[in-house]
C-alpha cells in the first residue's frame, strides 16, 4: 500500500511540535519509573559523564527547515509548510566563522538546503574558504523537483561539493513508504544524473555517499553489509554507483517520536536502544566533534539538540558571538534521545562511530 504525503507536526498543530512536550515524554514514563535508566545515569556508569567536546572537526549549518518532501521519520519536522530559512545576514556571520574555524568539515543541511534562495551564493562564498570537506546533504528528489534545480549536479561539481543523500532502500516499496510516493523513481534519476557528471564513480574524487535509516521501529543493520547490499542492487538494477553508505539510527524525536507513540512502539524501541547501549560509541558520538548552527544562528551540540531547542551550555550561544575556544569548554546537553547515537555500532551524520 502506498502512502499519501503527510504534513509537518507544526502544520498539524500536533502537541509534539512543542519541543518541551517531546522532552517531557522522553523524561517521563519508563524513564521516570526507573524501568529504564536515564541516559545521564547510563553514561555515568561507564565513566562518560559529563560528556565533553573533543577537538572540533565539523561545522554543521542548517539552512532551513523548508523541504520539498515530508518524510515519515524526519527529525527536523521539515516540509513545504516550514518557512524557517537562514537569511543572508546570518550566512555572512557563518562565513566569518568558516574562514577562521579549525574544523576540517563544513556540512550544509536542512530541510532541503537548496531551497534557500541564497543557497548558491552561500556555497560559492563558503567554497572560497578552502575547507577540506564541504558536504551538502541533498535529498536527491530536489534535483528533479523543478527546472531551476536540474543543474545542481554541475553546480555541486563546480564547487567540489561532497554530496550526501538519503536513500532508505534499494526497492521502490520501502523507499516510497518512508518518503512519499514517487520518491524512489526521482531519487534513482537524480543518482544517475550525479553519476553522469562523475559523482560516486569508482576512483572519482567527486564524493557521493548515501544515508540509510530504517523504515520503522527497528535499528539499522551492520553498515558494511548494508553498503554491500545497496551497491549490488543499485548497480545491477539501475547502473548506479556511489562511494559509502552511512547507516543511521532513527532518534526518538519529532515525527519519528510521533510515529513511535502512534504505532505503540515507543517503549519497545526505547528498550532496544538502551539494551544496545555501547560505551565505545559514547567515545565518538558526533556531539563531541561537531557544532550545529540553526537557520537563525543559534548554536547546538548536534542537529538533534537543535530540533529539541537545547542550545549549547556555553556563554557563547549565537553565531554572532562565535568563539571556538570558549565553545569547546562546555558540557554537552543530553537527554534520553541520545541513546539513539550510542546504540550498537553508534550513529552519527557520518554513519556508525565505532
Amino acid at each position: 500500500m502506498t502512502k499519501l504525503k503527510l504534513q509537518s507536526l507544526h502544520k498539524r498543530e500536533s502537541e509534539l511540535a512543542q519541543t518541551n512536550r517531546q522532552l517531557e515524554i522522553l523524561s517521563n514514563g519508563i524513564f521516570k519509573s526507573g524501568e529504564l535508566p536515564k541516559f545521564r545515569d547510563k553514561i555515568a556508569d561507564t565513566g562518560h559523564f559529563p560528556l565533553r567536546p573533543k577537538k572540533l572537526e565539523i561545522l554543521q549549518i542548517n539552512l532551513g527547515y523548508m523541504c520539498n518532501q515530508v518524510c515519515d521519520h524526519c527529525h527536523v519536522d521539515a516540509g513545504p509548510d516550514r518557512k524557517e530559512i537562514m537569511t543572508r545576514e546570518t550566512m555572512m556571520q557563518c562565513l566569518e566563522v568558516i574562514k577562521n574555524t579549525g574544523a576540517h568539515t563544513l556540512d550544509l543541511t536542512g530541510g532541503a538546503p537548496e531551497m534557500n534562495p541564497d543557497f548558491r551564493w552561500f556555497v560559492e562564498e563558503a567554497s572560497k574558504a578552502g575547507i577540506a570537506d564541504f558536504i551538502v546533504r541533498s535529498n536527491l528528489t530536489i534535483i528533479r523537483a523543478n527546472k531551476k534545480y536540474y543543474d545542481l549536479p554541475d553546480f555541486f561539481k563546480k564547487h567540489n561539493v561532497h554530496v550526501v543523500s538519503s536513500m532508505p532502500h534499494w526497492t521502490r516499496g520501502k523507499t516510497d513508504k518512508q518518503r512519499g510516493d514517487g520518491v524512489f523513481d526521482k531519487s534513482i534519476k537524480a543518482l544517475q544524473e550525479l553519476n553522469a557528471v562523475g559523482y560516486g564513480m569508482p576512483d572519482s574524487e567527486l564524493r557521493l555517499d548515501l544515508v540509510y535509516n530504517p523504515s520503522g521501529a527497528f535499528l539499522p543493520g551492520d553498515q558494511s553489509t548494508m553498503e554491500r547490499d545497496f551497491k549490488k542492487a543499485l548497480k545491477e538494477d539501475f547502473g548506479i554507483h556511489f562511494h559509502n553508505l552511512f547507516a543511521i539510527t532513527n532518534l526518538p524525536i519529532a515525527r519519528f517520536l510521533d510515529y513511535l507513540i502512534a504505532s505503540e512502539n515507543y517503549e519497545d524501541y526505547m528498550t532496544s536502544l538502551v539494551e544496545a547501549y555501547n560505551p565505545a560509541a559514547v567515545e565518538n558520538v558526533m556531539c563531541t566533534n561537531t557544532i550545529s548552527i540553526s537557520w537563525d544562528g543559534w548554536l547546538y551540540d548536534c542537529d538533534f539538540n537543535q530540533m529539541l531547542e537545547l542550545k549549547v551550555d556555553s556563554k557563547v550561544k549565537h553565531i554572532k558571538d562565535y568563539n571556538e575556544d570558549l565553545l569547546n569548554d562546555r558540557n554537552i546537553i543530553i537527554s534520553q534521545h541520545c541513546y539513539g547515537c550510542t546504540a550498537g555500532a553508534g550513529s552519527s551524520c557520518q554513519g556508525k562511530v565505532t
Binding site: 532502500h169 526497492t171 516499496g173 530504517p214 527497528f218 543493520g221 547490499d229
Partner: protein, 111 residues
C-alpha cells in the same frame, strides 16, 4: 505458572538456560553465534532461512526475533513472505509425500 504458556518477556531470558547446565548452554550459544556468522551463505540469507524455519517450527519467540532481524538487514516483506512459503511448501509436501506410503499400504492390503 502464568495464564499464558508464552510470554514475550521470556525471549530476553533465553540466555538463562545456561544457569542449570552451564557447559552445555555455553556450547550451544557459541555454536548458535557461529552458525549465523557470514560464511558460504550471507548473514542475510541465513536470517531468511531462520525466519522460514521459525514458522515451520511455529516458535513465537523465533518469529518475533527473526522478523526484527530480517527487517534490520533490509529484507523486504515480499522476500519474508516468500521465505515462509518455502517453509510451508516443504511442510505440506512432507505431509503429502507420505501419501505414497498410505497408497503402498492400501495397494498391498486391498489392491
Amino acid at each position: 505458572m502464568n495464564n499464558n504458556y508464552y510470554d514475550p518477556k521470556d525471549l530476553k531470558k533465553f540466555g538463562d538456560i545456561s544457569q542449570w547446565s552451564e557447559e552445555l548452554g555455553e556450547k550451544f550459544f557459541d555454536y548458535y553465534g557461529k552458525v549465523f556468522e557470514e560464511g558460504a551463505l550471507t548473514a542475510r540469507e541465513k536470517a531468511l532461512i531462520a525466519l522460514a524455519v521459525a514458522h515451520t517450527e511455529q516458535c513465537p519467540y523465533c518469529i518475533d526475533a527473526y522478523t526484527k532481524d530480517t527487517l534490520q538487514r533490509g529484507v523486504t516483506k515480499e522476500e519474508m513472505m516468500e521465505a515462509i512459503h518455502v517453509g510451508a511448501a516443504i511442510k505440506s509436501g512432507a505431509t503429502l509425500v507420505h501419501g505414497v506410503m498410505m497408497m503402498n499400504k492400501v495397494n498391498k492390503l486391498d489392491g
